[in-house]
Homo-oligomer: 235 residues x 4
């Protein structure tokens, strides 16, 4: 039953991963434990399905941003940042993602599932960055994207749901946008050198670091480009 996943997610959000047990799920669903194991043979199976359910929408969100063709790249970037910051204020995101970061440290499946989402996020950011600041190398764009991702993700603990700074979101996101959009727009490769980055390392054969297998990564990239082109064809 779909109820199982909903209940499981609720447990994760409200009480954390430690509290997610097949028995607790059964209890809350009002069924016997056998009914839960019938659908999910173990706690891990359950977690994987919950994860898939919870992470799936993010891919679509990023696609929507990309498709918003009435906006400039800069506007899209700002919009994406604001959208992400709003998302981390939801209870679900505030509670769930830190869990995923922890689990990713010990469970390769979770690590890859989470990485997959961040790869998609960076693909989106990357395309915007390339448009805004065409002088940057692939490596520089990717690393900028990681920094943006990290800044947003890290905000979870400070402006997330019921966090002390959550009421300061307006000012906070103004600052974040100012910092990040400005960064993308104004940064020049030469500056990075001056700040301790050695130019020679920006090799053309540089590969995007990821936990995904080369095949999975390529598949994700292909899929993304396919839907991206599809969006570009409209005008």
């Amino acid at each position: 039953m779909g109820q199982i996943l909903d209940v499981s997610l609720d447990i994760l959000i409200e009480s954390g991963y430690e509290a997610l047990s097949l028995r607790e799920v059964a209890r809350r669903c009002g069924v016997q434990i056998g009914a839960v194991t019938y659908y999910y043979k173990g706690r891990n199976d359950l977690l994987q399905d919950v994860l898939n359910m919870v992470l799936a929408p993010y891919g679509e969100k990023f696609g929507a941003i990309r498709a918003a063709s009435d906006l400039s790249a800069e506007q899209k970037l700002e919009r994406l940042i604001r959208l992400l910051l709003e998302d981390i204020q939801t209870k679900k995101t505030t509670r769930l993602f830190p869990h995923l970061w922890v689990l990713a440290n010990h469970d390769p499946f979770v690590a890859r599932a989470v990485d997959r989402i961040y790869v998609l996020e960076r693909l989106t950011l990357n395309s915007l960055i390339a448009e805004i600041n065409p002088h940057l190398s692939h490596q520089e764009r990717e690393t900028l994207a990681v920094f943006i991702s990290a800044s947003v993700a890290g905000s979870t603990m400070f402006v997330g749901f019921e966090k002390p700074w959550s009421t300061e979101l307006p000012l906070y996101s103004a600052i974040a946008c100012r910092a990040l959009v400005d960064l993308v727009r104004t940064i020049k490769p030469e500056e990075l050198e001056a700040l301790g980055w050695r130019q020679g390392d920006a090799k053309p054969d540089w590969k995007t670091p990821t936990l995904l297998t080369a095949e999975d990564f390529q598949a994700l990239l292909d899929e993304w480009e396919a839907s991206s082109t599809e969006g570009d064809e409209r005008p």
Copy 2:
């Protein structure tokens, strides 16, 4: 025994909070479980002491930065950011902090202990920001500090220990410094308005959001100012 705390920390780092049990600690210490319960009546007691042990050094680190009087405020800021980014690359920090963020969602003690550290971090940042950009209001400086904290914290999941981007730290921290130091230096109150922040909210009676009690917060602040002045008096 001090060994108990060391072992507990090791378990936390290597195997996660789920694996932290009194039995496991006893096992690794080579003592009976009764010996552990003698010192810590429960897992929570144990965690609190581990936390104290692990978070204590951070306060001192921030003090050291502040005391480095041969540097300009800007240099100090950059140095602090680089120092923090290096710290998140240690196994201990990469593994531990996400756990703390999770636990903070469900355990008020952890929440406050962690908040305490971030308050100290922001006090340090705040004093540097005030020096670099004196036009900012208290509220704006604090929120900037939160953004810097968040950016660094969020980096854990991407450039932390054994994370895919960890080898890209040089470029990454160059970008982070460029973004954050520049932000602090160049941001003007008017921009925040233009970016959607309503001027009227920067009230003079604005209070720093924190999970600490007013007393604890004030104590922390007093203590910090005392040691801060002490540092200033030297030259």
Copy 3:
């Protein structure tokens, strides 16, 4: 389905009786568990059918030996012993029969099913013994037959499939034949007395010990004699 029995037998052989569950059978058959319970309401039902399937051929084997009319009784006996020793070297027999001996200790159905086979084996042995050594009483012949049966059965644990002594089968069966055929040929009732057996106990009304009911035993005996006579009549 016949597949169910084959799969069940395979589980018994490969993983033992403990591993034989309706679910495991269903799993390996690629059907739902309901499909298995439709045919066999429980593990015991299943076991009984498997037993029948597996024990049936033995009756026929014994018949074949009996019918080999070109051999002397002594040769037949040796041949039977060698045949049985070869059989215990098969994986099926090595793995299955010890299980049956165990189950026979707790399950009367298994006990009788197994006993039925050994009764047939002894009937065969008995007829050969009577021919080789006509001076023996019925009781003595039967007990000799049991000893032969036991010697062969006991060999399972030593020269059975993948047992340490399995490669020594040639020497081993030479010894077994030498011991058992010689025993049958040369033993004299008087010796048994001298060795501690009291003459008086060889009563004419002595009944073959068996787990079978009197009717079942008589039916088996009748059936055997029918086919035996049938075989004798041919020449």
Copy 4:
């Protein structure tokens, strides 16, 4: 507690290995399950200790036979056979050993523990055989010993506790002794050739087949020889 082992053995004997569960042991001991797991961390640990407890006495029994210096080798052999046949009539042996044979098929620990006993049994038999019939090669003596072991072990299913033939033990053991002692006394290497055993295979470098590691086997052998010599020194 020792009670745990006694109760476990009782369960094994009365209800079989399947019925041996930590919970059942706890139930019969009148304690909580935690008390059982305190002493034995798992079902397997428990089984191993039970095995050790149950198999230990056999080594001593064989030593006693060897030490009975008032008997001739032939008498000792007969006495050993009778002793073993009496042992298989006990409930413990009748019920337990078939279990061990089964478990040995799937559990290497059990396989070795059981093999250890049979190695000791064969060492004892071997020394008697060597004395009775000095013309036999090492390999022939060993294989004879295996045959004797197998004959006795196989008797379990027929003359064991509550088995149909158990009341026939007097005649049965008379036959067994006649067969086995005579075999040992009268067999000649040439016969084995005639019966299909190729002389050339009795190589001087032939190694006793066993599941034990070479070290364990050697240790067992050394220990046995030490205690054997000790017995010989008396006269």
